[in-house]
Symmetry: C2
Subunit: 252 residues, 2 copies
DNA sequence: CGATTGTTTGAGGCCAGTCAAAGTTAGTGG
DNA sequence: CCACTAACTTTGACTGGCCTCAAACAATCG
């Protein structure tokens, strides 16, 4: 039952694909992002057999929760999700946003339980990849094994970029870098790199970037006043992307 | 040629082992940290054959540098190292400290070049594990493959803990959490969890925690005045570890 | 329509950064 | 052995950027 979704363009196609059992990794528009270029067609077919496509997640619903037993990793197929980790004293930290083609759940491997919870920011669909079947297949397909090592390494380098951001950058630089990250990931998905709709709230952005929502809002207003951005609620239009780059690197 | 090293206890033993070609992963005191418990003795022997043990790194020397071609991951055998990442605008971020039994180099897998540089904080020795040989072996030894997935997942969850720390905690909490982290890792190595010598400078600590050296120094002084710590240059003696835990969680 | 949630804007305070200087340690060479 | 230097650490006074508190505004939904 295809339900109405608040998405724009390619997302709609993805949702239809997710509900179509005949769809495969081979025909997926996202496979250049999600899968290694080095996998051959027949290797992808093997992978395809173990991938499970489930019905869309509604906004706000959990893909998995902290401390649940780890069984699968998930590739976002449409929509978007956030990962949050809850610390001892109870407050939440958004550790990442995941857009179509990106993979979540890698945190669960370490101790066989997920350390994060993952929540849909909007209606989203995912491809579920049972971990034990993936590892079995990896032993037979060296390029698949290598791909998953690379995926995990990418998550590490990405997290370390965020560490640097939080450790060294002021509010303007964090927001600029954040917008540029979304922009670049949209470009990779053949979407506009300058005009897009943020799927997450100001609260999520602030939480992720270690800022209060007031500060996030103030920086957006300031950048708009400076003519760098046009902001209308969640719609972002990057007017001067080079200026944004200079801001993000602190090059005044 | 065994050279004089400024280390205390177990380190000295490790160094001698590193120079002794007869030493193996099976006899290594650190294998409970470095290797998976699930590996059988004969499996460890296979791994042992591909591990290369090189002569100690001198303090301040590089294990590898940013943008060098990725070939190997490394297990710290004695001493300690720091990983730093250099951002576009040139300044450095310490992304982690690695103590004996811990593994560095996982950042290099993603793009076949190291994104970080790794530098010895003191005289240190490492076990080099050529990545392509490790992956070959992993395809034949499922528990080894699983172990490396776990290692990488641990690095991810560790980095995400640091993200939370930088995003949510004040200076006191950061220092407390940092000391507790070192303490726990010492305990795992059967060393004192309350009395130890920090291998890194105040500058490194501040860089890692997103604080200035002045703030680091002030927090140390304050904690000492409060009777929580005894600090003498790099020697730390945790007097009230429960108080330190309460500080780290923000439980006033 | 009211209620709720999310966003924007303003005023004031505080924590950590900046600047500055003194104290301490380690290393070097005479 | 000591004088000297360089590097590191500590402490103080001051500043500023972001947080806190508060209130108005906007959007969404039943």
């Amino acid at each position: 039952m295809p339900n109405k979704l608040n998405n724009n363009g390619p997302e709609a196609i993805d949702i239809r694909c997710a509900n179509d059992q005949k769809i495969s990794c081979n025909s997926c528009q996202l496979n250049s992002i999600c899968l290694p270029i080095s996998l051959h067609v027949d290797e992808i077919n093997h992978l395809d057999e173990i991938v499970q496509r489930s019905k869309p997640l509604q906004k706000g619903s959990y893909l998995y929760r902290t401390n649940e037993t780890f069984r699968s990793i998930f590739a976002v197929r449409s929509g978007s999700v956030k990962a949050i980790s809850v610390s001892d004293n109870g407050d939440e930290q958004v550790t990442g946003f995941y857009l179509p083609g990106e993979v979540v759940g890698l945190d669960g491997i370490a101790n066989n339980i997920y350390t994060n919870s993952v929540i849909a920011l909007e209606t989203a669909s995912v491809c579920e990849i049972p971990f034990h079947r993936m590892t079995e297949l990896s032993a037979r397909l060296p390029s698949l094994q290598h791909h998953f090592f690379r995926l995990m390494s990418q998550e590490i380098t990405q997290d370390q970029r965020i560490i640097t951001l939080l450790s060294k950058s002021n509010a303007d630089q964090r927001i600029a870098a954040f917008l540029l990250s979304i922009s670049a990931r949209n470009r990779r998905r053949k979407l506009s790199a300058t005009a897009f709709c943020l799927p997450m709230s100001r609260t999520d952005i602030g939480n992720f970037l270690g800022l209060t929502i007031e500060t996030v809002s103030r920086v957006f207003s300031r950048l708009q006043k400076q003519g760098v951005l046009n902001v209308n609620r969640k719609d972002i239009d990057i007017v001067q992307i080079d200026t944004l780059r200079r801001i993000s690197t602190g090059t005044t």
